[in-house]
């Protein structure tokens, strides 16, 4: 089981819940499961989010493999200037 | 008002053009003569990106009418290098990394050359105040000022009093 945490607006759209236990092997599995658990969150997940895995930020790394040892954070999609 | 026929000298060459009375010299240079080295950053004389000299006087070409240029000597960035030999200021800007995006660079070079022609040994304060009419958003001015001051020092060493 993967421990997945949500940040900011994403937790708000997940009914205020910010931590989930999810069965999956990669980021795509996690996003799919979250979308099913929290329908209000799904459109934001589809549009794109940033994922932090052990402190490293990923944008759209859907097949990045995940293990229960990873620290996984789903954050709003970010962009710079 | 009809178009005006102007004959002038640009970078040492005789140039003729026709322009409307309300066209700026900058518009003429860029759109009629294809000399796009001078840039329009604001059109109101605030940024200096369009700097040229007219009879040795530093001006914003966006504030000069194309129709006023007849019979004068205009120097633009295109004439600053001597063939493939860069002016010491141009070389210095490259070596000091005194440009990032480069849009303000032609204006700064024309303005800096104008300064060194008048004052071959400027202090840092004099350089900063002379160049206060040229806006740069990328560099924070640090390397530009160093480039100008080092050029002045070099030119003094080489005994070049005339920066032209």
């Amino acid at each position: 089981m993967l421990t997945v945490k949500l940040g900011g607006s994403l937790a708000a759209k997940a009914g205020g819940k910010s931590e989930f236990e999810i069965e999956g092997r990669n980021v795509a599995d996690v996003l799919r499961a979250l979308g099913e658990l929290c329908p209000e969150l799904k459109p934001i997940l589809d549009k794109g989010v940033s994922v932090s895995i052990d402190g490293t930020l990923h944008r759209e790394a859907l097949y990045q493999p995940l293990t229960p040892a990873n620290e996984i954070f789903i954050l709003p999609r970010m962009a710079g200037g | 008002m009809g178009a005006v026929h102007i004959s002038t000298t640009i970078n040492g060459d005789t140039v003729e053009y026709i322009c409307r009375p309300d066209e700026s010299l900058l518009d003429v240079l860029r759109d009629r003569l294809g000399m796009t080295g001078s840039k329009e950053g604001c059109g109101t004389g605030d940024c200096g990106a369009c700097s040229v000299t007219i009879d040795g006087r530093l001006v914003c070409s966006c504030l000069v009418l194309g129709a006023e240029a007849g019979g004068h000597e205009i120097e633009t960035i295109e004439g600053m290098a001597d063939g493939d030999k860069l002016h010491p200021l141009q070389q210095s800007f490259l070596e000091h990394a005194a440009l990032q995006c480069g849009i303000c660079t032609p204006g700064f070079l024309i303005a800096a050359r104008s300064l060194l022609e008048r004052n071959p040994d400027p202090t840092e304060t004099e350089v900063r105040y002379w160049l206060a009419g040229n806006l740069c958003r990328c560099t924070g001015y640090d390397k530009i000022v160093r480039a100008v001051m080092d050029t002045a020092k070099d030119m003094k060493k080489k005994g070049r009093r005339n920066a032209a």
Binding site: H58, L75 | G34, K39, L86, Q100, L109, T139
Partner: protein, 773 residues
Amino acid sequence: MPLDTKPNVIPTTFKTVGTRPVRPDGVDKVTGRARFGADMQAPGMLVGRVLRSPHAHARIVKIDTSKAEALPGVKAVITSKDMPAQEGCDMDVLTNVMARDKALYDGHAVAAVAAVDAAVARKALKLIKVDYKVLPHVTDVDEAMKPDAPILHAHIEHEYQQDLLETAGHVKGKKERTLPKGKRPSNIAGRYEFGHGDIKKGFAEADVIVEHEFTTEATHQGYIEPHACLASVSSDGWAEMWVCTQGHFMVRDVCAKLLGLDVSRLRVTASEIGGGFGGKTTVFIEPVALALSRKAGKPVKIVMSREEVFRATGPTSSASMKVKIGAKRDGTFTAADAILKFQGGAFPGSPVEMGAMCAFACYDLRNVRIIGYDVVTNRPKQAAYRAPGAPMAAFAVEACVGELSEKLKMDAIDIRLKNAAKEGTVSSYGPTFGPVGLVETLQAAKAHKNYKVKLGPNQGRGVASGFWFNFGGQTCTTLNLNSDGTLGLAVGTPDIGGSRASMCLMAAEELGIAYDDVRTIVADTGSLGYNDISEGSRVTFSSGLATINAARDCKKKLCQRAAMIWGIPEEAVEWKDGHARPAGANAGNFEPLSIKELAAKASGTGGPIAGHFEVNADGAGPSFATHVVDVEVDPETGAMKVLRYLVVQDAGKAIHPDYVEGQFQGGAVQGIGWVLNEEYIYGADGRLQNPGFLDYRIPVCSDVPMIDTVIVEVPNPGHPYGVRGVGETSIVPPLAAVANAVSAAMGVRATTLPMSPPKVLAALENKMRKAAD
């Protein structure tokens, strides 16, 4: 394509990387030969001009373009009717590019013309008749949050909680009013919360608590080059565009979507760009130029005026903030709380979330909460400005840290060292940090000679730290070996800060050849796979990583050719110092082959040699910085002089130190402008009062001193050479550092930006009056 799974061994010594050669595009830029957005011409080209709303908020009842269309020399006139909504397109972007049923800000585009010259185009604009029904407007973020504010978008709704009504001033000074429960139309587009722990408990543990409200005004990126593009659509639907942009692949994809074109039918070339800083990471005139060209059947060039740039591109947000930090007597922070309210112009999407995530990022906090509100107002739609959202948030937080250090009589750097985020710190926005360099920057700042200078009367010193995430992204590069042994490197990230030089350095380093033997170009969208925008401080990291890997691909192929020539297995050949050589005595006694020799033999050994790499780059590492600034205030005029400025920032590995220093210095001076002078000034009529460089005054040469820099290098394990992006972090600390310095000089806390002379004078007078009482 996944990255090599071998662990990344970062070299500790470099041959070419870290040197300071002249950039490859340099001569063109100092001679005026380089071509920027407005420098391109096309045969038969028309001039495009945009008609813009003079009202901050108005319903567009009717647009009559008939007289304009009839004017001789006018070849096309368009309105939103010519840009119908396409399936899946971003409606906010489309509506911002061309107003549909409402004009939402002073300067909002409502129509456009293409004519044979500028004079005819100007006349044609005057002949377009627009019937507006003027509506009440709102430009201030706090005003816009009130439940009774003029509403911009009927579909945006928010449920007001009691605490928000208080924050929004709804009940301030009045008898408490209650609103019916549930969502109602609002200008509040979103509420976001980050943090962890228990702030109530944390504040209870504090010996000292500092709390302030802050406001900052909107500023513009201020690039000297106005937006410009030249679009050409032919009758068979193929299109080309020349444009100054930070992302030509983005321009292609967004414009194709908005206009209903196939992406592959639009080829976009990025010109040299005269500054962007985030303001050119989206589209404004580009879809309009394409639509005009499509209708007129001729190329159309649109160049924005400076006034249009201010009124109708993407300034950053103005902000209203409240920050509270509690600390123990020994300086340890026990709790931190922030409420950030950002207005992002007429559409949702202010960078308040990123501001919220960055606000306390420099600190190791057990108890922290940040709430952000995204608010719409009748102002132009904001665009990114170098670390979007972070400078304002850092200003508020670092001002409170500064005050804590004064109250606790602790050195400003020591209090930050005590609480500094390090490797293993749980960040305030959630994830745990890997190796980061904040402590190193604080230590280097403390050791610097600037920190030891004794201050005189009316002088003050300010310190601030800052952070930016830095991003990776989609990147493709191709490295072609020419027959003479030189290399042509094609990247897809527009060069906004001198990156071509860094690419050449990295390719030369990897191949063991001279810097001058590599030439880098920014290729058009037809020549490479997708490249994300040059933003997020990603270019040296992403295109650099891709360049290094493309060079490794090239080396492999060069070794294969050598193996072929020598008749030995591939594995028996290695690349060293720019040559293929037998890997060990058993491989055979062959003279090493140089890259030039192999290039000459390429056609005989199988054909041209090239390396390439396509990736969605991950592993960008954050960059931390500490700034120290000394300011002198003139108590009679309120004028401020920056005496000394020091930037210490972690670059991971500085590929070309001159351009890393350049980023430090440029960001610092933009920050100085933001804190001392720059602001968007709106009149009671909702119109922008200062859309020009005279009254929107950015720093000039005489305003600033030399900017001292120190490059710290804590390598980023995610990049082959340890690179961290540096471009954005440099604008995060200056607002706070300068404001703290001014506060120290005045003896009064600066809480409103810009701290322009009238405000400084008012603060000083207020202080004297208070002292007299």
